[in-house]
């Protein structure tokens, strides 16, 4: 039995297992860690051990359940309640005169990879939406991701139009984009950011896709952002892995790092997101973002731009909502990209798109040390559980599949773990700022390899002491709580002393926010 529990733990790690005949078994795992088991020759048979490992490491291939469905952990916070789309859109001031919430996709009939609840222009009827859906790859129509609270320009996301070789047009789609543009009367042109390199967009015409042409869309301007596809990203990360594992590249570290192009890809993603954020924040134009299917690069761009624009997403809960909304609910194909429990690790669908997004967030947090409520450990924890299958959060490709599997009822959310022990993930230097737009410097000079993540299993990179800053964080947080509590007590005591409490009923509550700004 203890063996079995150990193996359930193994499932947290594995993607591929290879058998070595030299009494060693080796696991190559997704988070760039290799484990080797040296077994005593007598007793258990190695082959048995290996087979058991494989069974539990890749349960789907052996028709076993994923660990998250067996996990009986209990937390005092329910992470599944963190994201409520209606509340999130209400926070953004939606619906309003120009945008409405629609339940047209309630049963995932319009688009099976979109969430049930969508925000669309007020002037577009449900029939319009259905007609637009026929012209967009996998029916992923343009819907609102974020609206600027003041200038009311918006970020809209979708998939590529089905233009094809013949250069097909669709009046409804053209009209729909114009309706989006007109939700803000100040703008004369809608900006379309196609995340792909120009050539790739053209090549997509061969398979029925394409991009919005100038002829068909008079009131739109299209820019390509030159971000490469999932295959390029996968190969790039593989090269990063090759230079840090099993041995760290010594003699030509920087040039071999350069030859992986990983930081260059990070730069392009960040640059794209900055352009989106700048267009919207300057009020010059609303922005429509798409790539091919609108679930990889599009999710990176919209979520990073939202992180730059909206300080709410820089808090712990805000970031959870951002991930839940732009990635999980809008159908980033986590199951295909990560391959949870699947043994076919060479599958062409695998790609570290979400990891790349988290890397970009880390780069931003490096450049703005006071802007984020969360710390590095928060980001690493998210990535660890992206692969672990301990929580249901990142399982399956889209909301409809998750609903079918009753993921929220049968598994625990990652946010339960994090929110029940938030202090561990807090950045004590966080300063809450409203309305500050962050523009990171996306120059190669200012980007670094995330050593604490990619090379963390290498003992030579580790410092001898546990991270001193982190320890200090904890001390600082404890102190802060102590003082807040003390202050509350003092304020209660002083307000109790006042002869007529009705003259200053809001005394303590007025003072509290003031106290908070100190930290």
């Amino acid at each position: 039995m203890s063996l079995l529990r150990g193996l359930l733990g193994m499932e947290l790690i594995g993607t591929s297992v290879r058998l070595f005949l030299d009494f060693q078994e080796k696991l190559a795992s997704l988070d760039m860690r290799n484990l080797r088991f040296a077994l005593k020759q007598e007793g258990h048979s190695r082959r048995d051990m290996f087979e058991t490992l494989t069974r539990y490491a890749f349960p789907l291939a052996h028709s076993l359940p994923i660990f998250a469905f067996l996990n009986e952990e209990k937390f005092n916070v329910d992470g599944w309640t963190v994201y409520n789309p209606v509340e999130e859109y209400r926070r953004q001031g939606l619906p309003n005169h120009h945008w409405r919430i629609t339940f047209i996709n309630k049963c995932y009939e319009l688009c099976d990879t979109y969430p049930a609840l969508l925000v669309v222009p007020y002037r577009a009827s449900d029939d319009d939406l259905r007609r637009v859906a026929t012209f967009r790859s996998r029916n992923r129509i343009p819907v609102l991701s974020w609206i600027h609270p003041e200038n009311k320009t918006v970020i809209v996301r979708c998939s590529q139009p089905l233009v094809g070789m013949s250069g097909k047009r669709n009046k409804d789609d053209e009209k729909y984009l114009d309706v989006i543009r007109e939700t803000n009367r100040q703008i004369s042109k809608l900006t379309i950011y196609d995340a792909r390199p120009n050539v790739n967009a053209v090549a997509n015409k061969a398979t029925g896709g394409g991009y919005e042409s100038d002829d068909a869309y008079h009131n739109a301007e299209l820019f390509f952002l030159d971000i490469h596809n999932i295959h390029v990203m996968r190969e790039s990360l593989k090269k990063v892995k090759d230079i840090v594992y099993p041995n760290v590249e010594e003699s030509h570290w920087l040039s071999s790092l350069e030859s992986t192009h990983w930081l260059e890809h990070i730069k392009l993603v960040l640059t794209g997101a900055i352009q989106v954020a700048d267009k919207v924040s300057s009020g010059k134009s609303s922005v429509l973002v798409h790539c091919s299917d609108g679930w990889d690069r599009t999710a990176q761009l919209t979520s990073l731009a939202m992180l730059m624009l909206d300080s709410f997403y820089r808090s712990i809960e805000g970031f959870e909502i951002l991930v839940q909304k732009e990635w999980i609910s809008f159908g980033h194909k986590f199951a295909s990209r990560i391959g949870h429990g699947d043994k076919n690790h060479a599958d062409a669908d695998r790609s570290p798109i979400f990891l790349q997004f988290i890397d970009c967030v880390w780069q931003m947090s490096k450049q703005f040390p006071t802007a984020f409520e969360f710390n590095e450990r928060f980001l690493i924890t998210i990535l660890d559980h992206l692969y672990s299958c301990r929580f249901g959060t990142f399982l399956y490709n889209c909301e409809s599949a998750r609903e079918k599997q009753k993921v929220t009822e049968r598994t625990v959310s990652l946010w339960s773990l994090i929110n029940s022990n938030k202090d561990k993930f807090k950045n004590p230097f966080y300063t809450k700022e409203i309305n500050r737009v962050l523009y990171p410097v996306a120059s190669m000079r200012h980007l670094e390899l995330w050593v604490n993540y990619y090379i963390r299993w290498n003992p030579r990179i580790k410092q001898q002491q546990p991270n001193p800053v982190e320890q200090r964080y904890v001390e600082l947080l404890a102190l802060r709580d102590e003082y807040i509590q003390r202050l509350e007590e003092l304020q209660l005591a002083s307000s109790a002393k006042l002869s007529d409490p009705s003259t200053s009923p809001s005394g303590p509550s007025q003072m509290m926010p003031h106290v908070h700004t100190h930290f």
């Binding site: 010594e250 200012h446 003082y483």
Partner: protein, 542 residues
């Protein structure tokens, strides 16, 4: 000599561009003996802008039509552009700056005229002499003494008046040792590691020459150093040249210690780059950092091609080796290269920073720089005559001190709580080492400083830095005393380009400054509130 002879023109109208972030300044440009001034005119709100002419590393002029442009590249790596009305004025100003910024005379330099408010001459000059360090050593051990054999600098022109030597060796023996070492730099104590009783020594190369000469007193001195540590102690000699280079030095009269002559001592070679190759690496790095036109996808290989980070790695790992010998293996360590004034000091000072918690405080670090660099005779006047932009043919320039500061910065990055000072102090030291209104980094040795009366006629940088208004820029708000040795990781994967220095004038400074300010605010809030509980705890609770 009168400065007025060098000033070709009094004034001109000009526009000053200070990089991408700062707004341009307009006003009247004026050259004085030591400064370039830009006075924005009576109606403007901004203050006078001032540049110390010594700070100019290279100057470039261009004229077109009836105006001209002067580009000033400064020793602190800043690039300034002046647009000046009038061709004649441009050329005159350029010539004046050229002449005044390259004056070699020490006693007419600005520190001899600088009289800031609130500072008294001679105040901090006795702040960090070796005598002070000796007092500490004497508390810890009895095996060493302070010798004033070099009182008149006759034994060794680059040593201070007083040095710490084994008690068992008398002054006459020292005089003979001095003749056996290049430049008279006989082995002296650099650091006494109290927990293990072992010591770190430094010297220059022995003058063994092709005949393999020996010197009984020198051998005796090193034997006494071992005996002072503990009976049966052993040591190693860390030569900062390759074995090959050390051997070759014999041809020119130098060399290295013969194994047979120094029982108990082993020899190790750790070649460190010095001189022109190091300067070239610095120049190439600054070039790469300033080259904004060039496509960025080659940045990392360009950075690698400069080898600067490789030099940082080598310096840190050699210092770790020395520190490991003293701190962990209970060995005495003697460090020397050829002259013993460059990479030797780099290694001994870094090793102390790794081992000794007191050198990581604000005062302790200043003392370390004073004792191990300035008093120890690092030739600042020669090494820092020009920085990375100069077109002049380099003679003795080398950024050894900058390399030291970079290594300290790497330590601070890896141990964010263990240094009492922050990046601000390191940046200030870099700036002042190359051009300063203070006298601290003037001249190349104590002897020269005495001749020029630097101590009585200029202000010390330490008194300038230790003014209360400077503290917030220089101190590390997160500092917590750390009694342990701090062993850095020296792998290239953990070393970083020091952006705060090399990209200082290129990157937008705002977010990092905001963050620094925020950290200060949090820490001061914490401290002031930290007093509260103790007060209220003494009061009876209601």
């Amino acid at each position: 000599m009168e400065f007025s002879e060098l000033i070709r023109t009094g004034r001109a109208q000009a526009k000053l561009l200070r990089g991408p972030e700062a707004p341009p300044l307009r006003g009247t440009l004026c050259v004085t003996g030591h400064h370039l001034l830009l006075s924005p005119g009576p109606q403007a709100t901004s203050d006078l802008w001032l540049l110390l002419l010594r700070r100019v590393d290279s100057i470039e002029k261009r004229v077109s039509g009836d105006s001209g442009t002067i580009t000033l590249r400064c020793k602190d790596l800043r690039v300034l552009q002046l647009d000046i009305e009038g061709v004649e004025a441009t050329l005159d100003i350029a010539r004046s700056i050229e002449a005044l910024s390259s004056l070699e005379s020490v006693i007419t330099s600005f520190p001899f005229f600088y009289r800031p408010k609130g500072l008294r001459l001679g105040d901090a000059w006795h702040f960090h002499p070796p005598e002070r360090y000796y007092k500490r050593v004497a508390r810890e051990t009895n095996a060493w003494r302070l010798s004033e054999v070099n009182e008149d600098f006759s034994l060794c022109p680059s040593y201070p008046r007083a040095v710490i030597v084994p008690r068992a060796v008398d002054d006459d023996a020292l005089a003979r040792c001095a003749r056996f070492r290049q430049g008279g730099r006989f082995p002296v104590l650099s650091y006494h590691h109290a927990p293990s009783g072992t010591v770190l020594l430094r010297s220059s190369q022995p003058l063994t020459g092709p005949q393999k000469r020996r010197c009984a007193e020198d051998e005796e001195l090193l034997r006494a150093a071992l005996a002072g540590a503990r009976p049966g102690a052993w040591g190693f000699i860390l030569d900062t040249r390759s074995a090959q280079a050390a051997k070759q030095a014999r041809v020119t009269g130098g060399g290295t210690e013969a194994k047979a002559a120094y029982p108990g001592w082993k020899r190790l070679h750790r070649p460190l780059e010095r001189g022109w190759p190091l300067q070239e690496s610095f120049v190439r790095l600054v070039e790469a950092c300033g080259d904004l036109e060039q496509s960025m996808d080659r940045w990392l290989s360009q950075l690698e091609a400069c080898h600067w980070l490789a030099h940082v790695k080598e310096a840190l790992s050699t210092a770790c080796l020395a520190a490991q010998g003293v701190g962990r293996e209970g060995a005495c360590v003697l460090v020397h290269g050829a002259e013993g004034t460059d990479s030797t000091l780099l290694v001994t000072s870094l090793a102390q920073l790794i081992l000794d918690p007191s050198s990581r405080t604000m005062a302790g670090f200043q003392e370390l720089v004073e004792r191990e660099w300035i008093q120890a005779g690092h030739p600042f006047q020669l090494r820092c005559a020009h920085s990375a932009f100069s077109h002049a043919r380099p003679k003795h320039e080398a950024p050894t001190f900058l390399l030291f500061l970079d290594c300290v910065w790497q330590l601070g990055r890896q141990f964010p709580l263990s240094l009492e000072f922050g990046e601000g102090l390191l940046l200030a030291l870099f700036e002042h080492a190359y051009a300063s209104p203070f006298g601290t980094f003037l001249c190349s040795s104590e002897k020269e400083r005495c001749l020029c009366e630097v101590r009585t006629r200029t202000h010390s940088l330490w008194s300038g830095l230790n003014q209360p208004k400077e503290q917030r820029k220089l101190r590390n708000p997160l500092y917590v005393p750390n009694p342990l040795a701090i062993w850095p990781s020296v792998e290239l994967q953990t070393l970083r380009l020091w952006q705060g220095l090399f990209l200082r004038w290129i990157r937008p400074p705002e977010p990092s400054e905001v963050a620094w300010e925020k950290v200060w605010q949090i820490m001061t809030d914490k401290k002031t509130e930290g007093c509260e509980p103790t007060v209220s705890a003494s009061e009876p609770r209601l």
